[in-house]
Amino acid sequence: MSAYTPNEIMTIAAARLLTNEDVCFVGIGNPSAACNLARLTHAPKITLIYESGTLSTRPTVLPLSIGDGELCDTALTTVSVPEMFRCWLQGGRITIGFLGGAQIDRFANLNTTVVGPYDAPKVRLPGGGGAPEIASNCGQIFITMAMGTRAFVDRLPFITSFGHGKGKGDRAALGLKTKGPTKVMTDLCVLEPDPDTAELTVVSLHPGVTRDQVQAGCAWPLRFAADVAETPAATEQELSVLRDLHARTKQAHGVAA
């Protein structure tokens, strides 16, 4: 078994959840790596959509931006951005949306807008982009984020995209018919909303990770499921495909690997 980084196991754990039947709305970075890893391993028929308008795309290298030419070159077709957001995302055609964020709370609400007051920001982040409507319009949401107490926070200064609000039932109360976040893949563990309360609960620890390490990366007192599993270790195949993908990508982007 090769050694692998926490970031690699986070990507691999996300990839494993995807199937040939999924239609994924893919964000840049970890989600893109996870989706393409799934496509290049166990889910060759998975459908990948990037918000730049590329439908059913099959990139050979990972895009740096959401709209790299590679995505268009390998797409079935490319639609305008208004059509993408109206007919494809809002149209309810996406089974899985991937999100990340600067900050997450215990109900999987996300902040990518601002730290500090909105009108007098301490840190101005990039903003929501597609996230608010990805969070509400996709069948379910997978979140990938590395843990840390500045990221997994007790209280968000700003809700950029809605997870489970203040708990179970809040989505339904807003008229949302989609599931919202069902999985949070981190560098240390996998969390899922508790079926009764919707509070994020650790369901699986990555190999070699302790409960204390996970708690150290989270600002609120973490709940653990009754049976916490161990995330299966990364396989040789998963690692080699993922590393090949990253190596091709770095070369393509003109960055020393």
């Binding site: 931006s65 030419g69 268009c72 208004p82 957001f85 809002q90 009108d119 101005r124 597609g130």
Partner: protein, 283 residues
């Protein structure tokens, strides 16, 4: 009918101090050459509208030409912050009107459709409507559902980069087309830079994305005019530059020196050489 002009004349004639301007291009076909001309001419008090401000608005905001920024995602894609924009916002030196992508895309389409607003299913449970008074709602007259609204975007000027124009001034787009067509149709005036001007587009898909000549104000030939963004079939995105920009923009003095050397002292002719480094074989 579109008028063929020099870049200098097109920008000087059609963009005035205080204008609202949308320089669109969703990662692809971002009109950098035109943006740099705006920086050289120094128009002030601009309202800059763009879904993803990208480096082009980091540069214009950093040069102090913007009064207000209307946007939905202000980052350097895959890299991190746009440091000039971030600093200007954090210091309160530029006003912002912030939306989601869905809202902005709908707002451009509504502008192109000559509607005063757009309706969409969005902003559920989030905080942006609390800080942006332009996010409102209507009630569906059939189902009673409350839906989000956004005012149409109707800029004074749209500036885009496209692949080709023909001699009549029709403009062809292909690839990731973003909201460029909507931006032109939504605006009072438009300046379109193109990679090349051809006698005629020749055989093409019957549904090719084309802006007819009579919807465009000015056309300027600027080969490479989208670098470090890209032009499908002409040259690739200069991803290394996007990564390198992070360091340039982080420090204001470094940024200003870079702008002095690479923009203020430059001209549209420099873009062709940049793009040539990333040229792709024609399809």
């Amino acid at each position: 009918m579109a008028e063929f002009m020099s870049l200098r004349d097109a920008i000087a004639t059609h963009l005035k101090d205080g204008d609202s301007v949308a320089m669109e291009g969703f990662t692809h076909l971002i009109p950098y050459a035109a943006g740099h001309e705006v920086i050289r001419q120094g128009q002030k008090d601009l309202t800059l509208i763009r879904m993803t401000p990208d480096i082009i608005y980091d540069q214009i905001v950093g040069m102090g030409q913007a009064r207000k920024l209307v946007f939905s995602w202000a980052g350097n894609p895959g890299v991190g912050s746009l440091h000039r924009i971030r600093e200007e916002i954090e210091q309160g030196r530029v006003a912002i009107e912030e939306h989601s992508h869905a809202a902005m895309a709908n707002a451009f389409e509504a502008g192109a459709a000559n509607l005063p607003f757009a309706v969409f299913r969005g902003y559920k449970g989030v905080d942006l409507p609390k800080v942006n008074p332009n996010i409102r709602s209507v009630t569906c007259p059939y189902t009673g559902e409350v839906l989000a609204t956004v005012p149409a975007v109707r800029p004074d000027v749209a500036i885009i980069h496209a692949l080709k124009a023909d001699r009549e001034g029709n403009v062809l787009l292909e690839g990731i087309v973003g909201v460029q067509k909507e931006a032109v149709l939504a605006s009072k005036r438009s300046v379109v830079t193109v990679e090349e001007i051809v006698d005629d587009f020749g055989p093409r898909n019957a549904n090719a994305v084309i802006l007819p000549s009579w919807t465009v104000t000015a056309i300027v030939k600027v080969p490479g005019g989208a670098h470090p963004s890209y032009a499908q079939g002409y040259y690739k995105r200069d991803n290394a530059f996007y990564i390198a920009w992070d360091k340039i923009a982080r420090d204001k003095a470094v940024f200003l020196k870079w702008m002095e050397e690479n923009v203020l002292a430059g001209g549209p002719e420099s873009f062709a050489a940049q793009a040539r480094r990333f040229a792709v074989a024609a399809a």
